[in-house]
């Protein structure tokens, strides 16, 4: 896996995987997702679920995602925040829920 900083500074775009690959169920803003290709079940909080379900239906860059999900107590364009977002995206990619294009 690339480091967070190199990931977010690159110009690559991210998008959700084919919706047919995922089965969703959600209760109380928490989500349980079945990933058909791997047969694994993942537990997502509301923000991660929203990222996969809505924001990455269209391809977006790491930077665009970072700006759409500002931190509660700091600027959205800080390197630390971008690195957090890059790590989250890499994690979701590892789980097979998003892909880079």
């Amino acid at each position: 896996m690339e480091s967070g900083s190199s990931t977010y500074t690159s110009a690559r775009l991210w998008r959700s995987v084919d919706p047919d690959q995922l089965l969703w169920n959600g209760w109380d803003d928490e989500h349980v997702v079945y990933h058909r290709p791997s047969g694994r079940t993942h537990f997502l909080n509301a923000a991660s679920a929203a990222l996969v379900q809505y924001f990455l239906v269209e391809p977006r860059s790491t930077q665009a995602v970072a700006m759409s999900f500002p931190p509660p107590d700091g600027p959205a364009d800080s390197p630390e925040h971008h690195e957090e977002i890059a790590l989250l995206l890499a994690r979701l990619e590892h789980l097979g829920m998003i892909e880079r294009i």
Binding site: L23, V32, T41, F43
Partner: protein, 311 residues
């Protein structure tokens, strides 16, 4: 042998002597959704099996059986080797021979093992289940959490026993299937259940097993007679016996309930998508709770009041 009012001949319709002969040659009994053929060649447990299996329906020899199990006693050598029993399923022994005085426990654990390893047509949860007014309460827990004791207490208090061990759900349906079996009580639970109800009919105490002293509680006859009556799950209750702790039923977030339930299943990952859908159906329709208890009387009273108020 005569058929009783439900139409099926039962073990109790045989004399104990005839039952012993049938066990020696092979006897078919219906255990929940499973047709079991059991051969026992150990005289020492015939009487206990006769008492424990009294209400199970007999099956004809030409039944297509779900599994064939067998228990053979092997003579010992005086001063050198104690008598042993060998459990086998379809001709294969899944584990080493065990002391003959543990024969009943070995047979019962063996049948549970076969169910756990082979019943992949079902989502199979490691869970006790009891039914109240047509609604099932699922009690999933790891060994030692007190689910068998709690389930025994409920089944001796008017609840219908489904199982103290297996939550069987056929994927694609919302219902749980009963598989009532003798309840294997362990150690302190034996005296707890003896003290809990004068109606508790227990088999002999078997000391020195890998789980300590074990005694089997006979399942209520009504639970066996109605073992074809499935029921939907209304409550998911994760029990934990904790000494000197007052009873408490605490609502659990559904996502957490999903995680606990999936990790408690024998075959969640094996079933793949149908297992996910089955657990999602359960979580979607049932309320989820954590339950801590130490006193069985309080625990049964609280769960009964809760179920009473919620139906």
């Amino acid at each position: 042998m005569t058929a009783n009012s439900t139409g099926a001949a039962r073990v109790g319709d045989l004399s104990e002597q005839h039952f012993g002969q049938r066990l020696h040659d092979g006897i078919g009994v219906q255990i929940g959704p499973f047709a079991a053929r059991i051969v026992v060649r150990s005289e020492r447990i015939v009487e206990s099996l006769y008492r424990l299996y009294r209400d199970y329906a007999l099956l004809p020899d030409d039944t297509v059986f779900s599994f064939h199990v067998r228990l053979d006693e092997r003579r010992g050598v005086p001063g050198l080797r104690a008598p042993r029993v060998r459990f086998s399923v379809d001709g294969r022994a899944p584990h080493e021979d065990m002391p003959a005085e543990q024969a009943l426990a070995v047979l019962e654990w063996g049948i549970n093992l076969v169910i756990a390893l082979r019943s992949h047509a079902f989502l199979m949860l490691h869970s006790a289940i009891a039914e109240f007014r047509g609604h099932a309460m699922l009690l999933p827990a790891a060994p030692g959490a007190g689910k068998t004791t709690l389930c025994a207490g409920l089944s001796l208090s008017g609840w219908r026993l489904f199982s103290d061990e297996f939550g069987l759900m056929r994927p694609g349906t919302p219902d749980m299937l009963p598989v009532p079996r003798p309840l294997a009580l362990k150690n302190e639970s034996i005296s707890v259940i003896r003290g809990f109800s004068a109606n508790a009919n227990l088999g002999p105490e078997i000391p020195g097993t890998r789980k300590g002293t074990v005694a089997h509680l006979r399942p209520p006859g009504d639970s066996i007679l109605r073992s074809e009556d499935a029921a939907p799950v209304r409550w998911l209750v994760f029990p934990e016996w904790r000494p000197d702790t007052p009873c408490a039923l605490i609502e659990l977030p559904k996502q957490e309930g999903f995680m606990h339930l999936a990790t408690n299943a024998f075959n969640y990952e094996l079933l793949g998508e149908s297992g996910y859908n089955a657990v999602a159906t359960l979580i979607g329709t049932a309320s989820c709770h954590r339950f801590v208890y130490s006193d069985l009387n309080e625990a049964v009273a609280l769960l009964t009041d809760f179920a009473n108020d919620d139906t």
